[in-house]
């Protein structure tokens, strides 16, 4: 157990404070007044969640507080069918319905986050301290959101100014000297309101392999700042501005000698005008701009000479006009038109590419009868660098009776080729291979040829003349909701995503140094399918149990065919003769677990005026790489073993405005230093919250 000096001091102060405020306490019930939950991400309008025909999920502020989450990955990892996986670039991205993090759109207050360094968007970047709720839509949603919304959409909705003047402070200390502190200053009266939020998160990092020279996670400190202002010109028109800044500095060490620093700077501004013309017609104008920059450098610490540096600078500007028309209580139309301008400047790019993409979308939401709700919509994205995309979607919900309802949806999703896949121009300085983006491959290849570095061309230059197609999918979801009573309900959702034109690399030429030139091309057909179950049960007023399970099959269709044809071989031992594999020996895509489970138990302790909870997550075995050389993940490969993590916490409110949270994450101290670098082991923490 790590209890350093400051931790102890903190502990004492807390005890003292607790003691002095130990009288006249009121405790919330575990059953707060049940308000109908509003969901915006599925329709871009305020919509009651209970009648939505799509597989959606809300993570409330209460859920986040009870789990004592600090960063976004903490809370998402506890949700059914969601898991964060480590990327080789160091980011922690979300996997949804078996699709990689690059295929899930992450929004903050409805606006996309940028900064996908190698495709992955690192969600550890986001603090949970300012989150009001998180909305999750599963299944392709490009009909509203365009590119990247293939697996689904996660919309993080942050707190808005609330009435009155208030101050909130909190401080948390945990193992590895990790500290998290936030301050909120909020003011709202009549027409004008503002809210300032500041968070500092720092850690000494941790080391899963003390024998190696490098730490698993190097020390870092980051700051999140958010200022929101609201002004109501009248009852009908509103002005809103949100400014956000994120800064992180982290030690960056490549070896015992090569040391440096990496930094991230992110700005965003979101301006919104709302105008309600009448009961039926409203319009919204939004202007979003964001910049994401990283800078890394390495210095040879023995002689002080500069070794290497790289940078990444991405910008996105997006104006959008949205109009909502309510025909009546049950029929509503929403339409939008917008323009995305994106640019990237980074190391290993021979050009500074720009993406320009105007788009338009329309969605119709209607209650055909009292029991049937239907949503149909489509979006058209035009683009200057790849084929334009038309993304339709349709969804229906049918309520059989008060207890049972059925829902089904089919949608098209796509992910535009990213800047790297189009414009990368990179030669590995130690091994000597080259990777070229599709759009620069011909010119870069010609240059390599003129320098005499090309031995043979494997792909004729004319094959590189067309454009790379966006990766796309048809996603189908069919679900059943069952609500016996407020105390017991569950839902099941079956999903299938058929993905085409997945982008992969291939050899386009041999180099005279014996290495190859790689480029990107559309190749794979992949599917992910399975189902998830979510349930909630309150056997006692004081006790709530929730649980979830996901079954997943994620496979490459060509790989399946190759196994079926008997084209795949393996060795039992790396140096033993090969043997032929059978169809059932194919496991599927890398980094996908067949089974994922979560089970949470919440218990109220009236005598203690506190809540306790125990939360368990389980992930079955998965493969990270092909260990027997046949390029496929088969049952003879080395797998990462199944694991479970148990978290425990007690949250106690005292003197109304104070609360204290104490807990242990990963109680049994699970680690897998070789394969899982984002699980640091047991974490003990304490947190004090003050609302003034």
């Amino acid at each position: 157990m790590i209890l350093n000096k400051s931790f102890l001091t903190f502990y004492f102060i807390l005890f003292f404070t607790m003691y002095s405020f130990s009288q006249g306490i009121q405790v919330d019930s575990i059953n707060p007044v049940k308000l109908e939950q509003v969901f915006v991400t599925a329709t871009r309008t305020n919509r009651f969640i209970s009648t939505l025909p799509l597989p959606v999920h809300i993570i409330s502020k209460r859920d986040i507080e009870q789990a004592n989450s600090v960063r976004l990955n903490d809370i998402l990892n506890e949700q059914t069918g969601l898991i964060t996986v480590n990327d080789y670039g160091g980011g922690e991205g979300i996997q949804m319905q078996g699709l990689d993090s690059q295929y899930t759109l992450i929004l903050v207050d409805g606006m996309p986050l940028v900064g996908r360094l190698a495709g992955t968007l690192d969600i550890k970047r986001l603090t949970t301290a300012n989150i009001k709720k998180i909305e999750v839509v599963k299944g392709a949603s490009s009909s509203l959101y365009g590119s990247d919304a293939m697996g689904g959409v996660i919309n993080i909705i942050t707190e808005n100014p609330e009435k009155g003047f208030n101050v909130k402070l909190n401080y948390r200390l945990e193992t590895f000297s990790t500290e998290d502190m936030s301050a909120v200053l909020n003011y709202k009266k009549a027409k004008f309101g503002w809210r300032a939020f500041l968070n500092k998160y720092s850690s000494n990092g941790f080391d899963l392999n003390p024998k190696t020279e490098l730490k698993t996670v190097d020390p870092f400190v980051n700051y999140t700042f958010n200022l929101k202002t609201e002004y109501a010109f009248s009852k009908q028109s509103n002005f809103y501005l949100s400014l956000k800044y994120f800064n992180q500095n982290q030690d960056y060490n490549a070896s015992a000698i090569l040391r440096g620093e990496s930094s991230i700077n992110e700005w965003s501004s979101n301006l919104k005008f709302t105008r309600e013309f009448n009961v039926k017609l409203s319009a919204y104008f939004e202007f979003y701009a964001t910049v994401f920059k990283t800078d890394n450098y390495l210095i040879n610490s023995e002689n002080g000479t500069f070794f290497d540096s790289n940078y990444f600078d991405q910008q996105l500007i997006r104006p959008e006009l949205r109009v909502q028309y309510k025909f009546n209580e049950v029929n509503e139309l929403i339409g939008g038109i917008g323009y995305s301008h994106e640019s990237l400047d980074r190391t290993n790019f021979s050009v500074q590419p720009e993406f320009n993409a105007p788009y338009v979308y329309l969605q119709y939401d209607s209650n055909l009868t009292n029991d049937i709700n239907m949503i149909i919509g489509a979006r058209f994205d035009s683009h200057n660098k790849y084929r334009s995309q038309f993304s339709p979607k349709a969804a229906v919900r049918y309520s059989l009776n008060k207890k049972w309802s059925l829902k089904g949806s089919v949608g098209y999703g796509f992910k535009a080729p990213d800047f790297r896949q189009l414009f990368f121009d990179f030669t590995n300085s130690t091994v000597g291979y080259t990777v070229l983006g599709f759009n620069v491959a011909n010119s870069a290849l010609a240059q390599l040829q003129s320098q005499g570095e090309i031995a043979t061309l494997i792909i004729s230059p004319s094959d590189l003349k067309n454009t790379l197609s966006p990766e796309n999918s048809i996603s189908t979801n069919i679900g059943v909701d069952y609500k016996l009573s407020p105390k017991l309900n569950f839902k099941v959702n079956f999903f299938r995503n058929n993905i085409n034109d997945l982008i992969d690399t291939r050899v386009i030429a041999n180099k005279t140094n014996g290495q190859n030139v790689f480029s990107y091309y559309n190749v794979n057909k992949v599917y992910t399918s399975g189902f998830e179950i979510d349930g909630k049960w309150k056997p006692l007023n004081r006790l709530k149990i929730t649980g979830g399970y996901q079954l997943l099959f994620a496979k490459d269709k060509e790989a399946e065919a190759a196994f079926e044809k008997g084209d795949v071989y393996a060795r039992k031992d790396p140096v033993s003769p090969a043997f032929q594999l059978k169809k059932e020996d194919y496991f599927g895509l890398f980094n996908r677990s067949r089974h994922m489970v979560n089970l949470k138990l919440y218990y109220m302790l009236p005598k203690w005026k506190a809540f306790a909870n125990v939360r368990l997550t389980y992930r079955s075995k998965y493969g990270l790489l092909d260990s027997n050389g046949n390029n496929y993940l088969d049952v003879y490969d080395d797998f990462v073993e199944a694991y479970s993590i148990l978290d425990f916490s007690i949250n106690k409110t005292f003197y109304t405005n104070y609360s204290l949270n104490i807990g242990i994450d990963n109680l049994f101290n699970f680690t897998d230093p070789q394969n899982i670098s984002n699980i640091p082991g047991r974490i003990i923490y304490a947190k004090l919250n003050i609302n003034l």
């Binding site: 030669t427 041999n510 014996g514 060795r571 790396p574 140096v575 090969a578 050389g629 046949n630 390029n631």
Partner: protein, 210 residues
């Protein structure tokens, strides 16, 4: 598989004795086909990693089952991950030997036991645009893992079928690229460019089965 080979061997011995006991002197007796294992064939190179590659190829002669320094009496040769045949023309890299024979090669999918017959149409010779055994990760006989292990692994199910310099046939399965064929190779500590392979040589002219 071992029993397969043993049976194969016994049949051949039987055939051999059968033929040799035959009094007809016009028939050349058939020589037995044997499965052989070669360990630690050194195929070092200079350069690489962005620099021009040089260094002598390690030449191998199926007839003797040994490496050779001969300029003409070799069938296949190794340097780093490159494998050349004694047939066709040189790609023109530094220190690459001239081809003097009628050697050729192709890659078949299968196991040593399942690749039992030579397909003549598939044979390709080395040329000034590329080798018959194509090079590069996933493009020839091996895959390169890249970071963090940087391992060269022979792709299971790749059988290299060769026509020797004088028109006989052999099949090869490469097992390891590291010295002493460690079962858990480590690219940082094990010496690479050291081949371990199994081969079957058909010493009889005109016989296209193994």
């Amino acid at each position: 598989m071992k029993t397969m080979k043993t049976i194969q061997f016994i049949i051949l011995i039987a055939l051999f004795t059968g033929f040799s006991s035959c009094s007809n002197d016009d028939d050349e007796p058939l020589v037995a086909v044997e499965s052989q294992n070669i360990t630690n064939l050194q195929a070092q190179q200079a350069g690489g990693q962005g620099q021009p590659i040089s260094g002598a190829f390690a030449k191998f002669d199926f007839l003797t089952g040994q490496t050779t320094e001969s300029d003409s009496d070799w069938d296949i040769a190794f340097r780093g991950t490159s494998i050349i045949v004694n047939g066709g023309t040189s790609l023109g890299t530094i220190d690459e030997p001239e081809r003097t024979g009628e050697g050729a090669a192709y890659m078949a999918s299968g196991t040593m036991a399942s690749v039992m017959e030579v397909t003549q149409d598939l044979f390709v010779q080395d040329s000034d645009t590329g080798y018959a055994i194509t090079t590069g990760s996933e493009n020839g006989w091996y895959s390169y893992s890249g970071a963090p292990t940087y391992l060269i692994t022979p792709i299971p199910g790749k059988i290299l079928v060769f026509k020797t310099r004088d028109g006989r046939y052999a099949k090869v399965e490469i097992l390891s690229y590291y010295e002493n064929a460690p079962s858990e190779p480590n690219a940082f500590t094990d010496t690479s460019r050291v081949y371990t392979f199994n081969y079957v040589y058909q010493p009889n002219f005109g016989i296209t089965t193994f």
